[in-house]
Amino acid sequence: MSRRTIEMAVGTSGVDQFGRPMRAPLAVRGNGALVLEAPPEPELEGDHMLINIGPQHPATHGVLRLVLELDGETVVRCVPHIGYLHCGFEKIGEYRQYNQIIPWTDREDYLNSIGNNVAFVLGCERLFGIQITPRCTVLRVIAMEMSRIMSHLVWMGTTCIDIGAFTPFLWLYQERENLYNLLEGWVGARLTTSATRVGGMAAEVPDGWMDGLKAFIRGFPKTLDEADRMLARNGIWMGRTVGIGALSADEAINYGLSGAMLRASGVAYDVRKDVPYLDYETYDFDVPVGTQGDVYDRYLVRVEEMRQSIRILEQAVQRLPDGPLNVDDPRVILPPKTRATSQMESMIHHFKLVMEGPRPPIGEVYVPVESPKGEKGYYLVSDGTSKPVRWRIRPPAFVNLSAIPRMVEGHLLSDVIAINASIDIVMGEIDR
């Protein structure tokens, strides 16, 4: 058993007799040339070093903490520590009515807030036995795909920064601002949207909103191609990502990975195809699959996913039907304001819905959706009251992150950053 040091020695390589930092001495070689002669390295053979990354580190995308055991520069072992952003989502959900939980879903995977809103109410509607309207279905598809692009944009931008490219971040954030504008026009918030309600949406899209979306659909692929051109064949980018953190298909399944992580390993598991919801089986889109399962494949898969999302958005814009947005079900949907103030029955309805909240029958559901991170599911258990007994989030990033000790072992310290970025973690969702 080798001896291990437990604290990293931090400091300069040495100081001279006057306390000034020493420089590497110049030596004269036989041919008269001056060469830089590095000072002798301290003997470290056989010693392992432990270093700590996080919880406050720009490359950990939040407050992840990794403790790495290094042999030279090679990672021998990695111990992740999470929970620095544990905010008790699941506990507080037991004290809130179903519609009141929707604001919490915004803040849990905050890159994908509107997608979480949709996912949560899909679970609620199964629990209530509600069938949503065709217009609402298509609008929710638009919301989910917009949110997938938004999340992938942040992933791509921050991964660029981690690996050393700053420019794509600025370009991609410009496109994200366009999506923010669209969301703001629709629901009034940039990030924390709370856009859905059980049985429908909070608001109808305003006049002319679809033109804005169409403009985005036209303009976005150009920016994406530009950023992709900067990276996909870039020597530095490929050097940092190809062959790094690879997982085989069987291992990836056994680790419970999902989303782009699993697809990069060659398993075409996409909840939209395998457990369809919101009529996704009627849309024409492809599921990109990688072959090597390394960081580079994950990058390629995510970029292609954005292109496929644009395809879905195009189809959804074309097929958006007219008609009512919310279901006509007095158990969950408030009566129109004019009726609530003029008719006794509607007023009682309004009062009961607001004060007591809708009550689902006793039961439990698990409804998964394909979130940008992977299979995200809400497991809801009802005992017949207006508040859930258990509100469980199946966090894809949590499960994906649990494979990081396996992925980083044997790689260099700098590769840990690239691998961590490729998982696309959001600590809000991991710690909940």
């Binding site: 406050q56 939040g62 952003l85 905010c87 008790g88 004290y95 009251t385 207006s386 600590m427």
Partner: protein, 211 residues
């Protein structure tokens, strides 16, 4: 949050100035120069945890361009930072980390508490979340919003600049290090923390699990 009616006060208080209270022309000019330099090139240390960090990124990115205020140089090391921007909720598990990062920053230093969660616990009135980071470290500017828009953060930054511009070198007490109580690790009295963390508004009524 309730009215503060106890007699206990915070420990952070400027002592009475000694000697002449009149500023001379030289010191006031020097103050102006120093404050101008300090406020024009603040290095923010983003302590981003949750949603607010995404809005902070938007503020630093192309459209809102934080560089206009001399703040584009994000200092991810607390040792070289001037202002700590705490963006996002701070659970109890993170509290010692935040306290330590604050202690690692050199004086003079300022703190912006960005968002409802950092300022008051926000919607997370439960067992896991600190009810306002001002129970851990002193805060200069609070930014409301969940999350605040980039414009709100910029407004807070400009407010902080204004605050820095009115500081005087003579008031040395403003920038002395806080010294928490060695037993309880708190820097304000426990009763005050309990009072500040009491549920308020709607959340008072929302502690019933069923029906």
């Amino acid at each position: 949050m309730g009215l503060i009616t106890t007699g206990e006060r915070t420990i952070v208080r400027a002592p009475e100035p000694t000697g002449s209270t009149q500023d001379s022309w030289v010191t006031s000019r020097l103050d102006f120069l120093v404050n101008w330099a300090r406020s024009s090139s603040m290095w923010p240390m983003p302590f981003g945890t949750a949603c607010c960090a995404i809005e902070f990124m938007a503020t630093a990115a192309s459209r809102y361009d934080l560089a206009r205020f001399g703040m584009e140089r994000l200092s991810f090391s607390p040792r070289q930072a001037d202002v700590l921007i705490c963006a996002g909720r701070v659970p109890y598990k993170l509290a010692p980390v935040l306290r330590r990062i604050y202690q690692q920053m050199p004086q003079p230093k300022w703190v912006i508490s960005m968002g409802a969660c950092a300022s008051s616990g926000g919607m997370f009135d439960n067992y896991a979340v600190v009810q306002g980071i001002d129970t851990i470290i002193p805060v200069d500017v609070y930014v409301p919003g969940c999350p605040p828009r980039p414009e709100a953060l910029m407004y807070a930054i400009l407010m902080l600049h204004k605050k820095v511009q009115t500081e005087r070198l003579r008031d040395g007490a403003r920038h002395t290090e806080i010294e928490p109580d060695p037993q309880s690790h708190l820097y304000i009295p426990p009763s005050r923390i309990d009072e500040l963390s009491e549920p308020f508004g709607n959340s008072v009524h929302q502690t019933r699990s069923a029906p």
